[in-house]
């Protein structure tokens, strides 16, 4: 057994070394901003991005950005790492642990505060970004999602908006006014009840309102509805959902589930059921493909859109945001690359690949927005944006939210109790 104990000792020592290297590598040296002539600047910048699919099309779009960047910085090499949102955290966490950080990181709304707090993102104030400059070029709606402790840590690239869609024909058939769809909790519920169809046994055959949600994901609907009831999920990093509105919202959702739509019902393609007229009303995304390859023009023409407005009118917005890595050795180059990524042409291409809209102040002018009625609608309303997240431990709380909201909707637990518990976890 001697041999194995020796092995054990060596192994332990190595493991300690691994753990130690993990500690030392997160520090990161801060370097002063040197202004180097772009034409002479050299180096490699590593870009982690889930915003471009790793398809030929996505890579070409990214290469176009690199080509533009290389016109100004001919000697700087750009190394993309095409990740997806499903594996983004694995990529970021191993890069933190190994000290091989990225120079540019594209993440989503909700990621900014946690990673800013972990010192993974750099304060963009170092590159002259203020709320004012951000608001002028990008959409002001995403400023809160990019802010941590009053500093800007991310530059919004594209916005992924969510609205409510409805079928005009179904409304007319049910005696509802398609020009004046309901927007309050009460109104939506009354309309949904009228629109729900059942078989003789009482099973729902056509849901009156489609949450477009799989089990474990009702959190997003809750955030959107809560905001429409006047409460943002977090305010200045503090929870803002353990209150009367939170309970009201959650209980309203519960009163809809298995009443106008079975819990967790989705179509096989996991797409909004209103697109294919399998539901007369429900949550939709921010872009729709009206071509024959998509849902077809006939479906598009029958669709109308509105925003939730119980006590205020809101539009839920997610999206892609770019940050500079706090450990980057080429922060200025990284920032320059983010500027290349956020040119109008680049954002147009990115938005198309993501089924989103550019997160720019003049989003309404972009061709992708003009291409379909849904994007036009959500772009027009970007000013009413609310977002999901805001706490430094949001990624952690999110998991608890998912299961707890399910428990309430399925009648297993009480709404107030669950929200109180989540509030405790949110610190």
């Amino acid at each position: 057994m001697k041999r194995s104990t020796t092995l054990g000792v060596v192994g332990t020592a190595l493991a300690v070394a691994v753990v130690l290297s993990a500690c030392t590598s997160t520090g990161g040296a801060k370097e002063g901003a040197k202004s180097v002539d772009p034409a002479k600047a050299t180096g490699t910048i590593r870009v982690l991005t889930p915003a471009y699919p790793a398809s030929n099309e996505g890579k070409a779009a990214f290469q176009a950005v690199v080509d533009g960047f290389n016109k100004t910085y001919p000697h700087v090499k750009v190394e993309p790492d095409f990740a997806t949102y499903a594996t983004l955290n694995e990529k970021i966490s191993t890069s933190i642990a190994s000290g091989a950080g990225y120079d540019v990181l594209v993440t989503g709304v909700g990621w900014v505060q946690p990673f800013a707090a972990k010192n993974v993102f750099e304060d963009l104030g170092n590159h002259g970004v203020t709320k004012k400059t951000l608001g002028e070029k990008s959409t002001p709606a995403l400023i809160p999602a990019s802010t941590y402790k009053d500093k800007i840590y991310a530059w919004p690239l594209t916005a992924d908006a969510r609205a409510i869609g409805f079928r005009k024909s179904a409304f007319i058939k049910a005696g509802l006014d398609p020009k004046n769809p309901p927007t309050t909790f009460k109104g939506i519920k009354a309309a949904a009840e009228k629109l729900t169809e059942r078989d003789a046994a009482g099973n729902i055959t056509r849901p009156g309102f489609d949450f477009n949600t799989s089990p474990g994901n009702y959190r997003q609907a809750f955030v959107q509805l809560l905001a429409a009831d006047g409460k943002d999920l977090y305010v200045n990093g503090k929870q803002n959902f353990d209150n009367k509105q939170g309970v009201e919202t959650l209980n309203w959702m519960k009163s809809m589930i298995n009443h106008v739509q079975p819990f967790g019902q989705q179509n096989a393609a996991l797409k909004p059921m209103t697109y294919t007229n399998d539901a007369p009303m429900g949550f939709v995304g921010g872009s729709i493909d009206c071509s024959e390859a998509g849902v077809g023009q006939a479906n598009c023409d029958d669709l109308g859109f509105f925003l939730l407005n119980n006590t205020r009118e809101v539009e839920m917005v997610g999206g892609n945001l770019a940050s500079v890595g706090a450990n980057s050795k080429n922060k200025d180059l990284a920032w320059a690359f983010i500027k290349s990524m956020s040119s109008d042409a680049a954002l147009e291409a990115m938005a198309k690949l993501n089924n989103q809209i550019p997160a720019t102040a003049n989003a309404a002018d972009s061709a992708i927005v003009k291409s379909n009625a849904l994007s036009k609608f959500v772009a027009k309303n970007l000013g009413r944006a609310i977002y999901e997240g805001g706490a430094t431990n949001w990624l952690e709380v999110r998991t608890d939210f998912n299961s707890s909201v399910d428990d309430v909707l399925l009648g297993k637990r009480d709404a107030a109790e669950v929200l109180g518990e989540l509030a405790t976890k949110s610190r």
């Binding site: 290297s21 790793a54 095409f82 594996t87 694995e90 990529k91 642990a97 096989a268 697109y275 399998d278």
Partner: protein, 308 residues
């Protein structure tokens, strides 16, 4: 294995027969075919559904239809043209062949030692390999990444493994850490253990070296085992996703499953028909491999009579 001989004793008067039983169409046989057919259908039904879906349009997937209105063969073409799939196929092949070669070389030797050579701590070592099976890959992902990045003298690293990228973005990093998984050492051991030791003893008396006994006497007797190990390892390498994703960034190294993730994790919307078409094409080589490999099982191992 001493059990077969006890079995003989349990059946008094056992004599090795020469007559074969006549095959007749009996109710039992019909039932056997019936059950097997129903079972086989249940097993492949999801697979058939996958292939049907591969021919459908996006809208047909969303609305649920049995058969596609038009059989869209171009889904297969479209899926393969979405990314450099030919290269992904090649990369997966390299990884599968590399891992399997390493596994067959290392695990058979280790398995043989664990089953047949009385080294000290042999029991402990077997338990060691079994214990390693219990470690979920997800939890060692981060430390493993650090180790692979710190391989000395590779990828610009110094002798202490610092300064460069080690085995990241390399065939080494893709193949070596995942090859020779303990499960295959264990599997190899379980096959060698059923061989009678008399064979090895006889060879030893004839002056055959230990490696020769392993390589020329014992290993040829466990051919189905080697094929089983190879089939399992190739399949595992072929379907590998998380590790290649973590350590590669370029198409020169990325395997098939990362290509297929383009469809399932597309940021715009999941492309079901392409995902199913791509998966069907990716699965085809594995099915063919099995069709050929399974014939080998029939040929038998440790041939007849060895332990009688």
């Amino acid at each position: 294995m001493t059990s077969p001989s006890t079995a003989v004793q349990a059946i008094p008067g056992a004599i090795v027969p020469t007559r074969r039983r006549k095959k007749r169409v009996t109710i039992g046989r019909v039932a056997l075919y019936l059950v097997l057919t129903v079972g086989a259908f249940l097993m492949i039904a999801p697979f058939l559904w996958m292939i049907l879906t591969a021919f459908k349009s996006e809208l047909e997937v969303a609305r649920f239809t049995w058969l596609p209105a038009v059989w869209r063969w171009d889904n297969f073409v479209g899926a393969m043209q979405t990314a450099p799939f030919l290269q992904y196929f090649r990369n997966s092949l390299v990884i599968a062949v590399g891992e399997t070669a390493v596994t067959l070389a290392i695990c058979t030797m280790a398995g043989y030692v664990l089953s047949s050579i009385p080294i000290r701590g042999g029991k402990f070592l077997l338990n060691y390999f079994i214990t390693l099976l219990m470690v979920p890959f997800q939890i060692i992902l981060v430390p493993l990444f650090l180790i692979v990045k710190s391989v000395p003298l590779f990828g610009g690293n110094d002798i202490f493994g610092q300064g460069g990228t080690g085995w990241l973005n390399s065939w080494w990093g893709l193949i070596v850490p995942l090859a020779a998984a303990p499960i295959f050492t264990f599997l190899a051991r379980q096959f060698y253990v059923s061989l009678p030791s008399e064979l090895a003893d006889a060879a030893r008396m004839d002056g055959v070296g230990e490696f020769g006994i392993f390589w020329r006497i014992m290993t040829p007797l466990v051919k189905p085992a080697l094929i089983t190990i190879a089939v399992f390892q190739i399949e595992a390498a072929w379907n590998g996703f998380l590790w290649p994703l973590m350590i590669t960034t370029t198409d020169d190294l990325r395997p098939l499953q990362l290509g297929l993730a383009i469809f399932s994790q597309n940021p715009a919307s999941i492309q079901w028909p392409y995902l199913m078409a791509g998966t069907a094409l990716a699965t085809l080589p594995m099915v063919l491999l099995f069709v050929f490999a399974q014939k080998q099982f029939v040929e038998g191992m440790a041939n007849v009579g060895l332990k009688g």
